[in-house]
Symmetry: C2
Subunit: 296 residues, 2 copies
């Protein structure tokens, strides 16, 4: 029996291996490549690719063949962090304890590194065909683009900035914004795994719902950790949300109610997994529970 931490480390290492080579041979100018690698190699749990691979395996697909699609989610996630940190956006000097991309490479290169990672994500994903049937790859690319686009992650960042410091932000608005900003990509990672494996409509819907609930819980826990977390673990100063005038779950409903809401979401996620069995199902159940435990 391996522990969840060992499982997570092994899964992340698989993704790291792919990430280390995914930009090779693409003719990227050296300094731009350096800036892209800087953020891509900054570590992290690689949650989105890990979810995508796990759902591909859970639904009987070839996980190795799905890797370029799974990895594309990390390229997109990384680009979003680079652009979010820009002076015109959240103006963050630090990311995971290191200087943010634009502090090292300058704003222009940071913008281009983000643009490059975003675009290369689709190049990588397209290369999953024909090992995976083209119809599935197109559908996965559509899901990624919709989730990452102006009605998803990019739109969520727009709303996040509009809501920061605004007086009339309700819990409903906050939840809808987070469903776009962080939820959409997590949801799409799970659903893409199922799509790439050729899952039927029921399994695909279960993967999608699992992603919706886990994504929501993940954000609530993130907000809770910004209040009660350990600075080293969360990679940014405790209380930085409040300092920036950001509305959070704890600021709107308190810590206890936030934890209860996260628990409810994880229970719903687990419920949607109930028809699945085997090691990939166990891994996903443990992962869902672990997200909740971090907030205790």
């Amino acid at each position: 029996m391996t522990t969840l931490k060992e499982d997570l480390a092994r899964e992340a290492a698989r993704v790291e291996f792919w990430l280390a080579g995914c930009l090779d041979g693409r003719g990227i100018p050296p300094r731009l490549r350096e800036a892209m690698d800087y953020s891509l190699r900054a570590g992290g749990k690689r949650l989105r690719p890990v979810l995508c691979l796990a759902f591909a395996g859970l639904c009987g697909g070839d996980e190795e063949a799905a890797m370029p699609c799974a990895g594309a989610f990390e390229l997109i996630h990384t680009y979003s962090l680079i652009h979010d940190d820009l002076p015109a956006m959240d103006d963050d000097d630090l990311r995971r304890g290191k200087p943010s991309n634009h502090k090292v490479f300058g704003e222009a290169t940071a913008i281009l590194a983000g643009d490059g990672l975003l675009t290369e994500a689709f190049a990588c994903m397209a290369e999953a065909a024909p090992a995976i049937p083209a119809g599935r790859v197109v559908e996965a690319m559509r899901l990624l683009a919709v989730a990452a686009g102006a009605g998803g992650m990019v739109g969520g960042q727009d709303l996040d900035m509009a809501y920061t410091g605004a007086p009339d932000v309700t819990l409903e608005k906050l939840a809808a914004m987070h469903a776009m900003k962080t939820g959409a990509l997590i949801r799409a990672a799970c659903e893409c795994g199922a799509v790439l494996a050729g899952a039927d409509d029921d399994r695909r819907a279960r993967a999608r719902d699992f992603g919706i609930h886990v994504g929501a819980a993940f954000q609530i826990v993130d907000d809770v950790l910004d209040v009660v977390g350990d600075e080293k673990e969360i990679g940014k100063p405790v209380g930085s949300d409040q300092e920036m005038g950001k509305h959070t779950y704890p600021s709107l409903v308190g810590l206890d109610e936030s934890r209860r809401m996260a628990g409810e979401r994880i229970a719903m996620a687990l419920d949607r997994l109930s028809v699945f069995e085997g090691p990939r199902a166990d891994f996903l159940r443990n992962l869902a529970r672990y997200i909740l435990e971090r907030a205790q």
Copy 2:
């Protein structure tokens, strides 16, 4: 007999019609949508989609079915203009005679509008399946991503900034940079048209080569017009390249040699079209000649 100007206006109008509706129903927050529309509706010749459609038709494909893929090239081109104009990049206050995106909506929204257009391009393109076989759509998406990515357009912008004001920029370096910055997308638009139509390898290579030569000529002519052009027609002050310290074809080899090089490229482009007949072939030949005429 219609004139080329009438043909170009009719083709651009087809693209405009598609562009006007392509972002509807995508759940984009209103202000972000406004910023995306602002740049998308700023006009222009819609050269890239027009080339893509013409090659789709030339190779016997369904042009209407190819429209979302053709239009995606304009979304990508538009995003690149928004990001290029940012203060950290070329810092342009005007674009096609109107205030640039960030002057109207602020830097943060301009960055996000660009990110949104870039991402939605792939969503639109994916939606061309199944009207067009998924294998062709995946290949077209791969071509677009590679052309627009860090080894293509984004990398070209990175090199353009590095070369601006630098002392050792040769004609070879300049040509390689432009092949990435402006050439790659024009080349991919032509090749995608052929791919979407299911063209054989020879026709696909001819479409690609036509795009390479026309793209190179287009850039040389653009540089020439920056010296001798009419401010109203080119939409920016004459001499702005020189003012910014940009190396250009005229600054490296003079106006006459620049014109000769453009002519040589157009001759090569026409040569690659020699096996094609019919109205689409005539349109492309006229278009290629027209690009050259602008520099006289």
